[in-house]
């Protein structure tokens, strides 16, 4: 189970979501394919320069990943009463930390995969939508990768990715739940930035 690599690739499969009229499933399918193609095309370049890989990843994430919302879900009840600026710092500290640690693994990923959208389900009174996809691989059974999306100002934004049923948000929520018992949110953010605090997943 290449959870972390797939998770990151899936997380990145977020660009190109501009038109509100576009269905979430089309957005998910198209962007996942864009990321996979780019990783193949620019592999040599990315290998030579980790900075370029990080820039590409951040650019993809900023297009249609809902940082604020996702970070609030990761913090769960600890996000109560926390202002938007602090949430932003947390979201970005977490993402940079992840990329520093796992970015390279993405380049070792076998790009011979095929994205297939299976279903699209409105949830929680239509506030959220789950787009279920399958990554078909050349070797091995297909891997289920699902995206949780919500509509914000007419755009579809992704806030969680589930690889083989393992949710990015849920997994980090449980990890930070542990840390926030002994530390303040500011301490956790500082730790993520300096690299002294890492989180599995």
């Amino acid at each position: 189970m290449r959870l972390l690599t797939l998770g990151l690739i899936a997380l990145l499969g977020l660009g190109n979501a501009q038109a509100a009229s576009e269905r979430p499933r089309d957005m998910v399918e198209q962007s996942a394919e864009t990321v996979l193609t780019t990783l193949v095309k620019r592999r040599a370049e990315f290998r030579a320069d980790a900075g370029k890989l990080e820039a590409f990843m951040l650019e993809q994430l900023e297009t249609s990943f809902d940082h604020q919302y996702s970070a609030r879900l990761v913090l769960g009840r600890h996000s109560r009463g926390v202002d938007a600026e602090t949430i932003d710092s947390f979201a970005h500290a977490l993402l940079s930390n992840l990329m520093r640690r796992y970015g390279k693994a993405m380049l070792d990923f076998d790009p011979n995969v095929d994205v297939k959208v299976l279903s699209e389900t409105p949830l929680r009174d239509g506030k959220l939508m789950r787009v279920a996809t399958e990554l078909a691989r050349a070797d091995g059974a297909p891997v289920p990768v699902d995206y949780m999306v919500r509509e914000v100002d007419g755009h579809w934004k992704i806030f969680d990715v589930l690889v083989e049923g393992v949710s990015y948000v849920q997994t980090y929520r449980n990890q930070f739940e542990e840390q926030l018992r002994n530390q303040t949110l500011d301490q956790v953010i500082a730790g993520l930035r300096s690299g002294t605090v890492n989180v599995g997943g």
Partner: protein
């Protein structure tokens, strides 16, 4: 088939037998149902962190076994797996993995059938036929090349579908995260899987050892995953429950157990999606 599922080996068979005996003892202690306040069963894949803790009544023992496994891995299994990856060319390793996957295929087909997936079971059986013959005893995965789909199917899933959904968390020596149900499934698997019945028993212990090494090697790319986790034990337990829950039942059309900001009373003005610095 997960990496953990591939770890059966002759060398560890005795250990497995021992775990099997232990399990029978444990089983007698876990026939009770664990229910939520609203009467729905815990352990159905939608478990919250609190509920996961409730499904881990043997946490102190599990943690000790987890620590033992980590030490064993650091000192023996990981170094051996790394050497294997360095010494053996990629194509050869792929062939070896294919042979093991192919030997497990009849078990996948059997379980798919037991779960009522006749079509998938047939395809799985067809894969086994193709790969065993044209694929030269499974070395080449010609079935995948010919677009015959590959599925997963194991005894744990089958038991769950037959009604054994909730099961307490168990960390097995050597094999790692499991549950009582999945451990029993593992014992059943070790008795009927061709990897043991045809491979290890007929070809000798080296076959089993190789199986263990390839399984560990397959997990090497995920190494960074658990590194420096706040609590590695809890991380692995959490991932086990999430992943297994969705292998056991289709959760592709439900929301995970989120605490949504608006339901927590966070004002809308504090949720600013377009604020990307």
């Amino acid at each position: 088939m997960s990496a953990a599922d591939r770890r059966g080996s002759t060398r560890s068979r005795d250990l497995l037998r021992l775990s099997g005996c232990l399990l029978v003892l444990l089983l007698s202690a876990c026939s009770g149902r664990v229910l939520r306040a609203d009467g729905t069963p815990i352990g159905d894949g939608r478990t919250s962190p609190e509920e996961r803790a409730a499904l881990d009544p043997w946490e102190p023992t599990n943690r000790r076994i987890h620590n033992f496994n980590r030490t064993l891995d650091r000192k023996v299994m990981k170094p051996v797996a790394r050497t294997y990856v360095k010494a053996v060319p990629r194509r050869v390793r792929q062939g070896v993995t294919n042979v093991f996957d192919n030997l497990q295929e009849p078990i996948v087909a059997l379980n798919l059938l037991a779960q009522g997936h006749g079509q998938k079971a047939t395809e799985s059986g067809f894969r086994f036929l193709l790969n065993s013959t044209i694929g030269l005893a499974g070395i080449f995965d010609v079935a995948s090349a010919g677009k015959v789909p590959e599925y997963r199917g194991d005894f744990g899933q089958t038991f769950a579908l037959w009604g054994w959904q909730r099961s307490r968390y168990v960390v097995l020596p050597v094999f790692g995260p499991s549950s009582v149900r999945d451990s029993v499934a593992r014992v059943v698997n070790s008795q009927v899987s061709p990897i043991n019945t045809v491979g290890a028993r007929k070809l000798g212990p080296a076959f089993g050892v190789l199986y263990g090494i390839t399984s560990r090697a397959a997990a090497l790319p995920n190494e960074a995953f658990a590194e420096n986790a706040a609590d590695e034990y809890l991380l692995l337990r959490d991932v086990y429950f999430q992943r297994r829950g969705c292998q056991i039942r289709d959760c592709s059309q439900e929301a995970p157990d989120y605490e949504l900001p608006d339901e927590l009373g966070v004002p809308a003005s504090d949720i600013r999606p377009d604020d990307t610095p």
